[in-house]
Amino acid sequence: MAADQSNDAGRADDTDTENTDTAVTRDVAGGEDAPAPAGRTDLRRALAGVPPEPGAAKPDPVLTVDGVTRTFGGLRAVDVAHVEFQRGAITGLIGPNGAGKTTLFNLLTGFDKADSGSWVHEGEPLQSLPPHRVARRGVVRTFQLTKALAGMTVMENMKLGATGQRGESFFGALFTGWGAQEREITERARTLLSRFNLDAKAGDLAGSLSGGQRKLLEMARALMMNPKVVMLDEPMAGVNPALTQSLLGHVKSLRDEGMTVVFVEHDMDVIRDISDWVVVMAQGQVIAEGPPEELSSNQAVVDAYLGAHHDQVLEFDDEGNPVGETAELVAEMEAEEIGADAPAPETPASDASTPDAPTSDEEKRA
């Protein structure tokens, strides 16, 4: 119930903060903290009651993920027992390289096939749908390596995002009057482009845009689909710091319009700045969840990023053998390794001993 209220508030908010929307963006660009819109306060209040532990139930989940696994050879790239994503919130998904964040994105949006598991969006299962159907249901993604359609103009890129076009079917293109719909779409595209400061580029080929502008275009294009859930895969990667601020503003404005945002990011400052909730992954599993402020005090997160024994001074003798506490630690880790091996023989031993070793799913995706 609480969630319904927050949702309504968010929507009501939408209409009267229409002009402040851009103002928020500008403020952020200026480096000042903008006051959070009323909808967000409600949202934070709703999320405040959620226990900060992996797999915590949310008051109003828009996307619920259960038992998703994906293995590449012997490597279990994704093994998520349970995660819920709160409606209307910005959820940051973080974790070291190879944690399985992008693989999870690929699975949830149908770009990769899960070995097992289910995920439900608005009561409808998505796990057996091909990517284009997932997108049509309102779960729209962007890519880490931006996929601007380089040989087409910015405007054509935008128009492609519009759904339900009569002229997109073979016979519809020939025998229906799609002109009126096309004008409508063009108008909507123009509005979105000016919001993302790309209106001057409408006639240019997308290939001539800078990296940051391509990220903006990809986001604007996704919005042409009127998505319910926007999944952004590293929206800030390769973008210069000045543009990062404006991109962050745009991500926030998606939430302020009632969309749910899930995004992958490495930069902790960015996560703290815009996310309402953070899910931390490591070695394919969700190891922690919670509001962004509590992240740095979470032992599991610190361990995943820095290694479990990062604060210990390692001691060796002249021959390079570990001595003292370090020797105990090595013995402990070796014991763990053997223990980890026994129940899951298909897992390579190196997995258990090196939590931050880059796993191959990132490479495979690339």
Binding site: T109, P131, A150, G151, L160, F170, M225
Partner: protein
């Protein structure tokens, strides 16, 4: 001395002749496949074969009326697209290329095989399928003179019908590529995953594009069979596909008129080179004494190949193409 008048006459008659029509239709199909959707079809000649034989067999063996035969030929193009597309269009682009070139060779070998002689006429080919087409010919005089060119009545009829088919295919292409449908197939050419992420059923669009281009190819086979009144399997050999590609790239891939102009120019250049070399190697005191007249057939392809090579260096987008689109990064 070189008779330039004769060179020009030969060139112009090839510019509008049945070969140019045939390759224009093949290249129009490849333009849909390669130019707009990014599909690598290396077996376009196979589509022409099934079109021509679909029409030829139904008319000559089963006495179907010509219009029905043409429709059957076109339907054969669609069926071939489905058979080749269903297993390969979900895979990477190279698989379609391998499968299409293999299929076109298999089709040629099957049609020429002696076991099929009753059905396809074997290496002798089919005859008697074009009688009703010839009967419809309104140009009853033995020959006509148009702009100084002497054209036989039946040829004029075939050329006229051929270019009408080309014009209809160009019109269809133009209507489609300016529509949202065309936008989607161009997006698939640029990046399939992006199109998928935007809710487009990439497989269905690729299938439609493969079938449409295949029908254009089938029409090419039908038109050439009717124009030349002959249908022999060995004409449908793999190099023909690559001549069509040469025509497409010469004219400019991804442009509506590129393949038509490219095919006309390709045959113009080829026949002018041929006529020139024949004149230059013949007679008492040949201009090029170091070339024998037997080599002319091969050397004309060398010259055209050289021309295409230079074209790729100085104008990679072809005559009509947009340079920025071809170079990819838009800069």
């Amino acid at each position: 001395m070189i008779d330039f008048g004769q060179l020009l006459t030969v060139g112009i008659s090839q510019l509008i002749g049945p070969s140019a029509i045939f390759f224009a239709l093949l290249a129009l199909g490849l333009n849909i496949h390669f130019g707009y959707t990014g599909l690598l079809n290396f077996g376009q000649i196979g589509f022409a074969l099934v079109g021509a034989y679909g029409m030829g067999i139904s008319v000559a063996n089963y006495g179907a009326p010509l219009w029905l035969g043409v429709l059957i030929g076109m339907a054969c193009g669609v069926v071939m697209a489905l058979v080749l597309g269903i297993p390969t269009l979900r895979l990477r682009a190279d698989y379609l290329a391998i499968v299409t070139i293999a299929a076109s060779e298999i089709l040629r070998l099957v049609t020429r095989s002696t076991s099929q002689t009753e059905f396809t006429g074997g290496t002798q080919g089919l005859t008697g399928f074009g009688d009703s087409f010839a009967a419809l010919n309104p140009f009853t005089q033995p020959s006509y003179t148009i702009l100084g060119l002497e054209i036989r009545g039946p040829d004029l009829w075939a050329i006229l019908m051929g270019w009408t088919v080309v014009a209809l295919c160009v019109l269809l292409t133009w209507l489609l590529v300016r529509s949202p449908w065309g936008r989607v197939i161009k997006a698939i050419r640029e990046d399939e995953d992006a199109a998928r992420a935007l809710g487009k059923n990439v497989f269905a669009y690729k299938m439609q594009a493969l079938a449409l281009g295949g029908v254009f190819g089938a029409l090419g086979g039908i038109v050439l069979a009717l124009a030349t009144q002959s249908l022999t399997p060995d004409f449908y050999s793999p190099p023909q596909t690559f001549f069509a590609y040469a025509a497409l790239i010469l004219g400019g891939a991804g442009r509506v008129l590129g393949p038509v102009i490219g095919a006309m120019l390709f045959w113009f250049l080829l026949s002018v080179a041929d006529a020139f070399l024949r004149q230059a190697t013949a007679g008492e005191n040949p201009l090029l004494p170091f070339i024998s007249s037997q080599d002319v057939g091969a050397i004309r392809f060398v010259l055209v190949g050289l021309f295409l090579g230079l074209m790729m260096v100085f104008r990679p987008q072809g005559i009509f193409g947009r340079r920025r689109e071809v170079l990819g990064d838009g800069r």
